[in-house]
């Protein structure tokens, strides 16, 4: 029995080690995963959209380019916290020319700490990079404790990597070099109303106070610092939010004021689009903070036009005023 256990353990660990290397290879070649795409291809966009799912499903780089003439890429990822935004930006800047502008999505929800997370598994193939490993250790200490065991850097969040691996195998097999969504924007074509507003109201019938999460603020500052070093103009913005939910965000004005103060202190503009007409109707939304295709198209045109207008009104030719 002991001999069998010994041999079995050796075979097990060897196969797990081999599997880990295989996953490293194929996940970093799955072009649908943004970390893989931005580290294997030069995008060198003039403008980067950064943030969680709201910009991912709302900010169309092609629509922006059409109006402004600037090349753009959507670097946003689902449920991403500012720590993840910072890590994505770090990977991007390591392999690409620094953009001129970064549009960073900031709202009451994204600063609360309870709604967005650091999706550790997205960075698993890049843990050999010291900076990424450090950020992962800081953001996910439990994962970091086990990740050095064979395959555990993928096994720990296995639900999130197997499909990516299979897709990576397909991409290598088909010699595919472009992602499905080439400019990073995921158009919300078939999105139907997700009922999140109803669930939110059911959970907080008297409304909810949102937090000013120090950890998120720290990473937001780090993004600004990273951008400052690379001479990138960061513009904080808030996209339209469905008006129906606003009465339930009890301290929305207070948090908005804090963001305004934060932006002023850090000398970056803060653009708020929550008074746009589309905020009044569910016809333009599939969720509280996410516009549908119709809403996104309207917002993209408005946003790009606003950018053009602001650019024209610049006093300082290198920096925006607030």
């Amino acid at each position: 029995m002991y001999r069998k256990i010994g041999i079995g353990l050796v075979v097990l660990f060897t196969s797990l080690w081999g599997l880990e290397k295989t996953y490293d290879y194929f996940l970093s070649r799955n072009m649908n995963l943004k970390p893989a795409y931005i580290t294997r291809h030069r995008i060198d966009a003039d403008v980067i959209f950064l943030g969680p799912c709201e910009p991912l499903w709302m900010m169309d780089p092609d629509a922006f380019t059409k109006v402004t003439g600037l090349t753009a890429y959507n670097l946003a990822t689902v449920h991403a916290s500012f720590a993840e935004n910072e890590s994505m930006l770090h990977l991007y800047l390591d392999h690409n020319k620094a953009p001129k502008y970064i549009f960073l999505y900031v709202t009451t929800e994204s600063l609360d700490g309870a709604f967005n997370v650091f999706n550790t598994y997205a960075f698993a193939p890049y843990l050999n990079q010291e900076w990424i490993a450090g950020r992962v250790a800081e953001e996910d200490s439990v994962y970091n404790r086990y990740r050095k065991l064979p395959f555990m850097k993928y096994g720990f969040y296995s639900d999130y990597v197997h499909f990516g691996f299979v897709q990576g195998v397909r991409h290598v097999w088909n010699k595919r070099e472009e992602p499905y969504f080439k400019n990073g924007y995921v158009p919300p074509h078939d999105m139907v109303w997700d009922g999140r507003l109803e669930r939110f109201i059911a959970q907080y019938p008297k409304g909810r106070h949102f937090n000013w999460n120090a950890r998120d603020v720290k990473h937001l500052k780090a993004i600004l610092e990273q951008a400052r070093i690379s001479n990138i103009q960061v513009i904080l913005y808030e996209s339209p939010m469905l008006n129906e939910v606003k009465p339930y965000i009890l301290n929305r004005e207070e948090i908005k004021q804090k963001i305004t103060t934060f932006a002023r202190e850090n000398q970056v503009p803060y653009w708020v689009f929550d008074t746009m007409q589309i905020s009044r109707s569910r016809d333009y939304f599939f969720s509280i903070l996410n516009t549908n295709k119709l809403g996104s198209d309207i917002f993209n045109r408005t946003f790009a036009a606003y950018f053009e207008e602001k650019k024209m009104n610049m006093r300082d030719k290198t920096r925006f005023n607030q």
Binding site: G8, Y154, F156, Y157, D159, H162, V166
Partner: protein, 475 residues
């Protein structure tokens, strides 16, 4: 500390080495100290309660044969333990409001009450006192050994419920041989597989259905309720595999709690295969005495026995109305089976045996799943929503993928559907091979290939978060 937590599993080999190097006569002391450490380190209150409860039961059991009024001692002890159990259930119940009052007074009620194992060892204590009273066993003379019987770490949190006559003698001289090690290891790995690969993957799928029942089609709710039954089985039987496997490493044989219940062809067979030790306890200490007392009433005695047994079982699980309905449904099923025995034998003779058996298995599974709708629903409002959803259109007007699969998978994306598909494949393959897997382990042989395939699957596809969330720990 849960039995499947990595710190525990890493510490287990060290404990085993200490155990092996201790003289056999003193090994039970090692088990006792570790058991108390396991309970007390994380839940000091739980340690205090188990020590007090064990002292009380030990003293009462010792007094029963010696004192003048054994029946009085027995009755007082049983009433006190029963009240304690009811009080615990009442405080835990969301409706009582007492929990909130305690919380407001600064008590950490989660620490005091939850995962205490109280309801499990209290039943064992009650059974022990009755057995001593009727002279079926002799009262244990060593209070510390009795404390080990109550607090043995492998079974403390959620059973199996052990008969004192079976477990106490094993503590005298535990001496595991190589066969025990091989058996224990294989059961532990099998338990980890069921918990981390099957049950933990099913948990979010079930939660999506029970958490959003108002917006789902009837087929999705039906699937969710069935998947909950599978989750409950994988989760609890995984816990039992771990408990049995870990105890066996130390030469202690715990009772089996499950015997392929999902393949039962009647509800009465189901209850002979599901949570066996609990139902054995209820049968021994409630059902048989009631039926014996009322034996002159014939079939009515059986119905009364079944109903009372399941009512008490429902209360043991929780004070809510949903548990009451769950228990009454099972009482109803069993009463019907008891009354229709001859009719069903007649039907069985009319159909080919395989067809009849498959139909019976399917029907039993559906009936059990329906009762589990109430078992899982947090309250009557949720149960009502689920029942209403069962009457809705099958796919909630959105087609098979968006209306049925996507709500189960957590979205209609390829990744979510891929993960759901993978889970279904694992479940079907496992259920198909389950009897063979257990048969192999039970031969006493060491099946290295099977063991390492399971280990490989755990490490590659297991869920490593929320490890401590065994469903039955809440009871």
């Amino acid at each position: 500390m849960p039995l499947n937590s990595l710190p525990f599993l890493c510490f287990l080999p060290l404990l085993w080495i200490i155990f092996r190097f201790t003289p056999p006569l003193w090994r039970w002391v090692v088990l006792l100290l570790f058991s108390l450490l396991m309970i007390g380190y994380f839940r000091p209150w739980a340690l205090a309660v188990v020590v007090c409860s064990s002292c009380f039961t030990y003293t009462a059991a010792r007094a029963i044969p010696r004192k003048q009024y054994p029946k009085l001692i027995l009755c007082v002890s049983l009433v006190l333990q029963g009240i304690a159990l009811l009080l615990l259930r009442y405080v835990e119940s969301d409706n009582s409001g007492l929990r909130f009052q305690l919380q407001e007074s600064g008590f950490r009620t989660d620490t005091i009450f939850y995962t205490l194992g109280f309801s499990f060892y209290t039943l064992q204590h009650i059974g022990y006192l009755i057995d001593v009273y009727y002279g079926r066993i002799q009262a244990e003379t060593n209070p510390f050994r009795f404390l080990l019987f109550s607090s043995f770490f492998a079974k403390f949190n959620a059973g199996p419920l052990e008969q004192p006559s079976k477990l106490l003698p094993q503590f005298l001289n535990p001496n595991p041989v190589q066969e025990d090690l091989s058996y224990g290891l294989q059961r532990i790995v099998l338990g980890l597989f069921k918990k981390m690969v099957l049950a933990n993957h099913l948990a979010p799928v079930v939660e999506r259905v029970f958490g959003n029942s108002g917006t789902l089609g009837s087929l999705t709710v039906m699937a969710g309720v069935m998947l909950f039954t599978l989750q409950l089985y994988f989760d609890f039987s995984a816990y039992c595999d771990l408990a049995i496997g870990i105890a066996r490493l130390f030469g202690i044989q715990l009772s089996e709690n499950f015997l392929f219940p999902l393949f039962s062809d009647s509800v009465s067979v189901f209850w002979r295969r599901w949570h066996i030790t609990l139902i054995t306890w209820f049968t021994t200490y409630i059902y048989y005495p009631v039926v014996y007392r009322l034996r002159t009433y014939g079939q009515a005695a059986v119905i009364a026995g079944i109903t009372l047994t399941f009512l008490i079982s429902g209360i043991w699980h929780g004070m809510g109305q949903t548990f009451l309905i769950w228990s009454l449904l099972h009482a109803l099923y069993l009463t019907y089976e008891s009354l229709s025995k001859h009719t069903r034998l007649g039907w069985a003779a009319r159909f080919p045996s395989t067809v009849y058996r498959l139909f019976s298995m399917g029907l039993t599974f559906v009936l059990v799943c329906f009762s589990n709708l109430f078992f899982r629903a947090g309250n009557m409002t949720q149960a009502q929503h689920l029942l209403e959803a069962l009457t809705q259109v099958p796919f909630a007007h959105q087609g098979l993928v968006n209306g049925f699969l996507a709500p189960l998978a957590g979205g209609g994306y390829q990744e979510a559907l891929f993960n759901l598909g993978m889970l279904f494949v694992f479940m079907l393959v496992y259920l198909g091979a389950e009897k063979k897997v257990y048969a192999r382990i039970n031969t006493g042989g060491f099946y290295a290939l099977q063991l390492f395939i399971l280990l490989f699957l755990i490490l590659v596809t297991g869920v490593f978060q929320k490890l401590d969330s065994f469903i039955y720990l809440q009871f």
